[in-house]
Symmetry: C2
Subunit: 417 residues, 2 copies
């Protein structure tokens, strides 16, 4: 009989957000009067900006008429969008990309999950810890992770802990990995690397011949000047780094789906004969064979993000979310909690108080205050003892959540059983 | 240094449609006065139907307002679309599917390319020949195809030739494969299997414990009553078959992107301990980990296809394409060519005359008549000696193409150098 990919069977059964959803539903069923506020999943709540809506309507009308109808487009994306990305996201930072170094897709989750396909099956992979689970799970599925140990670590992965002790700045790996996933501004911790801190990783990758997969999905939330928006702002990164970007959080596209990957021509890896091979044509082959391109109307919508009007509108939405982040930081700090992140990212990462584990804190927050967040343990072993809240809720919900926390007083009053 | 997936390096460099495009561009550049007609790539030319356009505009407006805005949706698709599919595509044929057996996606190309991921890496794969190249290439990338021989065949693939000699009905494999890709109505030959012919494969798969990956992307073009629209019309198929469907050709969605996979709960495969495992939860895990769902507005558009108005509109478009197919069949036959397909599918497959190879015929058609088609050799070794034309051109273009063929007279006059 045909066999399954046994690597899939190694994955733990329950996915973080399904488990949260299960617990919240159970609580709500038992307490139908409770008005729950969800600050858990990182989904946007602001509608699509007017410039994007207008572009969508116009593109839909093009699709209604034989003369302007667009069928299959280039799998790599339309040049009108690629050019807008080059000119607005990269050129102003001194980064020159050619059009065929940018690949439009329907989401950064797909891109970061798929990119490992073009790499060797026995590559050693390093991840920061806590981490966005997709980096780990996609490598488990590909057979690169080894076995899951009782400590929650996979035997073949290299973990780079990011905790309050190191100020959430990962140390360079002690054991050299082939591939290094970095996400800054970080999900889940909401922290960032400054130029010199990221430069250390680029230097390391160049010296040790590693590939950096750099997830910059939250770059639009950066407020401070000393934080790089793109890894290509670091000299030498073009030879060792691939960068993932997304319109999801930047422009409210979580339900519309558009993202892109930058694969510079200089990024190379070795084949079985030790010959250097550029990754760009391999990724191009992957995308042309397994993907049919992002919908035309969605690409037109994404291009509208780069108009003057679109830029002002997404900036206003991001500013709104970052005001939420500030409210959350203040509210949590006032109740005596230790707070991180939320300055250059829409995520607030808090230390659970009094050695409480993160699922216990989840239950306290849910049952005492009717607030839903995400237990840090769900993001990896070093996430235990931490908890994530997001700034993506509506303003009223965010204010009501902070009102509940403020009224409940110091954490020692409402936390615990 | 990090290594590449060496399987990618085994793929032949030039993809079929790129090579066609290169030759056509070169010819057009040398003959700027030539009015070329493209009946090569299988892309639709009719605009999106009015019901779909209206649904898109409405859904876009929902995305403009915080109260109706939709962010992340279920990775598996919204139930409003899944239910419409169950009720319209399957129930009327006596096929009962539960909602969690249907997975909405952004394209059948992605789905058929990705599905092999959940299967064992050493699975033996069978394909009909000629074949849609994605089935082969995705398995080459996964390391299942072995080496490419001088005869154009991969050493570890099982080929089931479909030629005029067997009336394009593949024989059962002599060597048992683990996985069997079947596409009917077929791309590229435009031919179909009748109920009893498909039933033979289902019976074989049940007896030999194989998995059938059934691509039904062209089912909406079926005109004759004795041709199954779904493999689940065959008794026992729920245990051995996964079915791929698409809105691309059915409703003009090649630029809008929506498709779905049916994975019945009964389809199982063995793990390393020989235990039977259902594929449905594995595919669910794949999609939830590596995919973020089809855009909400696109799913609303797909649901509109199932309204009374939508059904009438897509039927009219399909009828128009099938009238093109009939015109092409007649025109080619009048010039003395042997013609297949085009009755239950939008593809016409012709035998190249006088032992001419398919690329030579491509050149004759291009340079003598200004017509662009697809050489059969591009679809596999058994495609040599055949040629594909599609019914997706506009009516005027199709008529003009046939006028040129008719005026050129018998093939022996215009074919050849």
């Amino acid at each position: 009989m045909v066999h399954v990919n046994d690597n899939y069977l190694k994955l733990p059964g329950s996915y973080l957000f399904s488990e949260i959803s299960r617990r919240v539903s159970a609580y709500q069923a038992a307490h139908p009067e409770a008005k729950l506020i969800r600050l858990g999943i990182g989904d946007v709540t602001q509608p699509l900006p007017p410039a994007v809506i207008r572009a969508l309507h116009e593109a839909v009308d093009e699709q209604a008429c034989a003369k302007t109808f667009k069928g299959y487009g280039p799998e790599q994306g339309y040049s009108f969008l690629i050019d807008a990305i080059r000119e607005h996201d990269f050129l102003p930072r001194g980064i020159e990309l050619s059009g065929d170094e940018i690949f439009i897709s329907d989401g950064a989750k797909c891109d970061v999950a798929n990119f490992q396909e073009i790499l060797g099956g026995d590559s050693v992979v390093a991840v920061t810890d806590p981490v966005y689970p997709v980096y780990v799970d996609s490598n488990v599925m590909a057979g690169r992770a080894g076995e899951l140990g009782p400590d929650g670590r996979w035997s073949r992965l290299v973990y780079l802990p990011c905790t309050a002790e190191n100020n959430f700045i990962p140390a360079l790996p002690e054991k050299r990995p082939d591939v290094l996933y970095l996400c800054f501004p970080n999900n889940p911790t909401g922290t960032t690397l400054k130029y010199d801190e990221l430069a250390r990783f680029v230097e390391y990758a160049r010296e040790k011949e590693c590939l950096i997969l750099f997830d910059a999905a939250y770059e639009a939330f950066i407020q401070e000047d000393d934080v790089p928006h793109s890894i290509y702002e670091i000299e030498g990164a073009r030879e060792v780094a691939v960068e993932f970007r997304s319109f999801s959080k930047t422009a409210g596209f979580t339900g519309l789906r558009c993202a892109f990957v930058v694969v510079p021509k200089e990024v190379r890896a070795r084949d079985a004969q030790n010959t250097l091979r550029a990754l760009n044509p391999l990724w191009n082959r992957r995308q042309t064979t397994k993907y049919n391109g992002c919908p035309y109307i969605v690409q037109k919508a994404a291009a509208a993000v780069y108009t003057k009007e679109g830029q002002a509108q997404i900036r206003a939405a991001i500013d709104g979310y970052m005001e939420n982040a500030a409210l959350i930081r203040t509210g949590l700090a006032e109740s005596g909690l230790q707070v991180y992140g939320g300055v250059n990212a829409p995520y607030i990462w808090l230390k659970t108080p009094g050695d409480m584990d993160s699922w216990t804190f989840f239950e306290s927050l849910l049952t005492r205050l009717g607030l839903v967040g995400t237990p840090g343990a769900g993001f990896g072993p070093s996430g235990e003892g931490y908890f994530r809240l997001t700034a993506f809720g509506g303003r009223e919900n965010t204010m009501e959540a902070m009102r509940r926390i403020r009224e409940a007083g110091h954490w020692s009053v409402w936390c615990g059983k």
